[in-house]
Symmetry: D2
Subunit: 341 residues, 4 copies
């Protein structure tokens, strides 16, 4: 007090006192108030031939105990030197290889996760005690703080895409993780008939288990029904994965996922939005133009869409193209920050 | 004014003036404020042998033009002479027979309807242009003001149970009906993959069609998953039909429906509630005690549960019993009038 | 069984058997499916001079013990001989007189109630232990199953309008009433600062008490703010009473209430809806045309608006007119039966 | 392809290839998955004597054109060298001085803001064209993307606390700002009677304007009503500011605010949660213990509560203490990341 009531003679002197006592004039925030979002993240494409080759070579080079290194993150080239790798500002995507006989022990964290199975069959995951078999084309969710583990009881390599909201949760300093606690025992029970949301146990405490897996065959059937629909001018036919037991809400509070079909000859209109996304090509080939740069893609390729980047898609070929994608749209929307143009 | 300011000398004189001028002292309402609900409706059972014989004989006695008379309502014996037939105060149930080649033209009304198919296959219904094939075990909804029609392109008699909220809608004087307007054309399209609520068209205006039909096989699968669940003390295993595209809400604003499994040897606890219901036996046999009276039932039988009637169920046999039922519970609940004891 | 399998020879014989065994062919319901709602209720107006004179004369003719007869219901002339008096099909309105020193003991019922205070001050009501002082212009709610009682500690007669959903609750056979149980003690506490909904106790179990009373002065202030608003073409300026602690929902599940201002010279457009209403004139004079019949009204008059009746209002004078009204709109809407044209 | 299919001989070689091609093994994320949240932010207290002296001295040193520098942010000492100043990871708080005759031109941004007025009267703010007068004790909100401006038409310095969610919005790369567009004209209209949420314009398009200002007198009245309530073991009496026109939701999607009263002699229990907060002392004195460190506070002091920091409060004196605080709890909760222990 005595000190601060000392008369300060110049602006420079004032700034010195402020810095020393943990104050800051308005400057910093003024610079932060940009007319539009600024990001270091760039659009980038990781070709599947390269991804697959590298993950398989990594599989051969590292020992069994190091099996959890058989995960390669798609690190956006805009990531800074001392920052956590991320694919967009809020999303982290990676390729994971699991070999027959391998097991990942149960753990959980506040980062929510999802998987899209690219190759193989015979592996399984257990989410909060509910066991789900995995095969190519499956889309599987592991919500925030659910126990999860996996293993591979089949033949041949199993490869999938992992998607997490970790950069967002980490940035908000809200990471909890548990690698040592006791997960509930796997019950081996399939509950998909119930979890379709069509039948609800009506007695007190009876609860429909939430949906964990969506099969590609169901997605294909839905596209078949919609074959003659007009679709979206920006995305052609696009389906959002939803939990029928909680139909009014997005899949998870921070993440949602889509499968979109670009019909032959389609070239969509450009648009942009304040959610970011990671795309993975399931089948077909085509191109996407992001902030003026054209990315040609084929089966297995993965590419990033930063926040507020203008983009459009095209399928110049003669057969359908399928793009899987996931996005932080639910978080952006619930914070009141979703915009599109 | 001049008249009314006349001095009235006695209570009798007052009552005369009041009656003449459309006033009434508090009496009437006082009598209406009973400690508990009063109803003329009684518990009653209509045996299927009788029902089936009468509807088939009716089918033979009436001409093709009168085919819409092949509907027999379950008229509660408590219904008054000049009142509309009803099964409980708010619910109307009936048996309907459709013969091969018959067609019912499209119509719609503000009374909501549901059907449970008892016998036959090869018939269809069209609800707001969406065609649904019907076979035994199906549960089908026709919400308020949806166009509906049906026909029978198969072999043999088709028999189903109809359930409507007509007594409630009629009592509230809110009936609209349209027998002459143009229904949307049947599009022959099945949309069940979409309407499971697992995949939602994500473009603007894309809407998941609502669920119209639930198959018995799915219900059986759900019961199989729940085989070792504790169940409800009042109802054993009981599943509510839900629309996965609108999972937070009951099936219709006025009606919901259940399938319950009474496992061998089960005898439930008595309870009562301010919703009324109609039960239909899908398979097995047993008994229900309603307000102290025991009703033995077997396959195809239908019985009524009036408002606030104490009831319990038992399956003394060696195999499962399945009871389908529908109820006005959503209406009672949304009006803030649901109670159980 | 044996009986029913007997061959029935004629339609007449069939009808006899059906009637005897509690079945009914489709006829009844067919008749019930009218193109538009049918009601016996008529538009009717009860002039306040007459109402006030009769209730005061009744006050003088009946003894203290019979004080609860100082309630005169507005009985719609369309009410049948053996039916409960009602003002519209779902609403019951009455005038109530309370003299200084009189007390009504606590009771509760599943019929929800509201009051609009017409004359006097110095009376109070206690709703579930929360005491509210009453004066002319107050609007007060007594939701379903809340304990309520009242007394008059002031001078001069106290006159108010009572509105209940009793005809609806009675028709649905869902009346419970309790005249003998123990009401919570009156706590004398005003909680209006909290119940404005602007400040919410944030600790576990802390709950904002629901709003019970709205003052005319606040209503007048709101109209002053809206003086230059365009208003509704059907109702001019109309405000719905809302509970700010539960702002997303109507006042009660079955009832809502409005105050509307007809500005000088206003003549509204006709419309109709499937909710019914009772209007009470707070100040000013004008006329309403209902189903083609014109009703001129002045301060204190009460009139009924049946279901689906076309109506419009006019204020040909030089000063504002205020109409209070209550309606079953929330019930009709939650049952999916609301329509307007 | 050709390159990547080259055999890679060692792990080091592999890591080189991965880095070059924008992949990263699982390491980074593993390190990010900490058992509990990690933050650089520390608890810190800025005393009001110092704050007030510095802002007034700053007011004298800078010219009129630089008036927007009369804002001093509370910069958490844990903030890194090249980072935007912040008070906690998600919240930014500052002290603002406005002198008579000064005006801040209209602007808007996706960062949401709130103000608590510490000293003075005669200033005003305009939020989306709605003008609100400001005096000490007022709490005022400026939601995401609303136009806002202010001016001072009174005497003497006006000092307030600003709270923004800017660090969160900036971190998510979702900042939009507009300093040049046209704000709606101030209409000079107070709409507080409507915005209490008790009266809702019922015509189509009529909308109750949202609540913008809460007066300290109303807060004091609410505390008076709750004087004998048990309160929270962690916070004693604590009230959350709510918008009665939207009572089911928090004040803003990212921010909420509280006023809490620590009654004389109170010492609360410790707890912690994944939301962070900034506290400002309105009156009284006491201490708060945060992560084991005790901070003594008096009127006008401001202190920070980082994420997941254990804390408790005490008022050892003989008169009430009032603490205003704001928090990112709504954001943390809607993302599914709220925890307390």
């Amino acid at each position: 007090m005595t000190e601060t009531s000392t008369q300060i003679g110049t602006l420079d002197e004032l700034y010195g006192v402020l810095a020393e006592r943990s104050y800051e004039p308005l400057w910093t925030i003024k610079g932060a108030l940009t007319p539009e979002p600024q990001t270091q993240m760039v659009p980038f494409l990781w070709p599947y031939d390269e991804v697959r080759d590298l993950i398989l070579q990594a599989g051969g080079l590292i020992s069994a105990e190091e099996a959890d290194r058989r995960v390669l993150a798609f690190k956006n080239p805009g990531t800074g030197d001392h920052e956590i790798a991320r694919t967009t500002d809020s999303l982290w995507a990676a390729i994971q290889l699991v070999m027959p006989g391998e097991v990942a022990p149960p753990h959980r964290h506040t980062a929510a996760a999802l998987r899209y199975i690219i190759e193989g069959e015979g592996a399984y995951t257990v989410v909060d005690g509910q066991r789900v078999e995995m095969e190519a084309g499956d889309f599987i969710v592991t919500p925030n703080w659910t126990w999860h583990e996996h293993g591979h009881e089949g033949q041949g390599p199993m490869i999938w895409l992992d998607g997490l909201d970790l950069p967002m949760v980490h940035t908000l300093h809200l990471v909890f993780a548990d690698f040592t606690g006791s997960a509930p025992a796997a019950n081996g029970q399939s509950t998909e008939a119930l979890s379709s949301g069509r039948l609800l146990p009506a007695w007190n405490g009876g609860q429909t288990p939430r949906t964990l897996v969506w099969k590609l065959a169901d997605v294909e059937a839905a596209f078949a029904e919609l074959a003659s629909a007009p679709g979206s001018p920006y995305d052609d036919l696009i389906l959002e994965y939803r939990d029928p037991t909680d139909a009014g809400n997005p899949l998870m509070p921070t993440l949602t996922a889509y499968m979109q079909m670009l019909r032959p000859g389609v070239e969509t209109q450009p648009h942009r939005h304040t959610s970011s996304a990671v795309y993975h090509v399931v089948r077909g080939s085509g191109w996407s133009e992001i902030n003026g740069e054209k990315f040609s893609w084929g089966p297995g390729d993965t590419f990033s869409l930063p926040v507020w980047a203008e983009h459009r898609h095209a399928n110049p070929g003669n057969s359908d193209a399928l793009l899987f994608s996931f996005s932080d749209r639910p978080a952006v929307e619930s914070l009141g920050l979703l915009r599109e143009s």
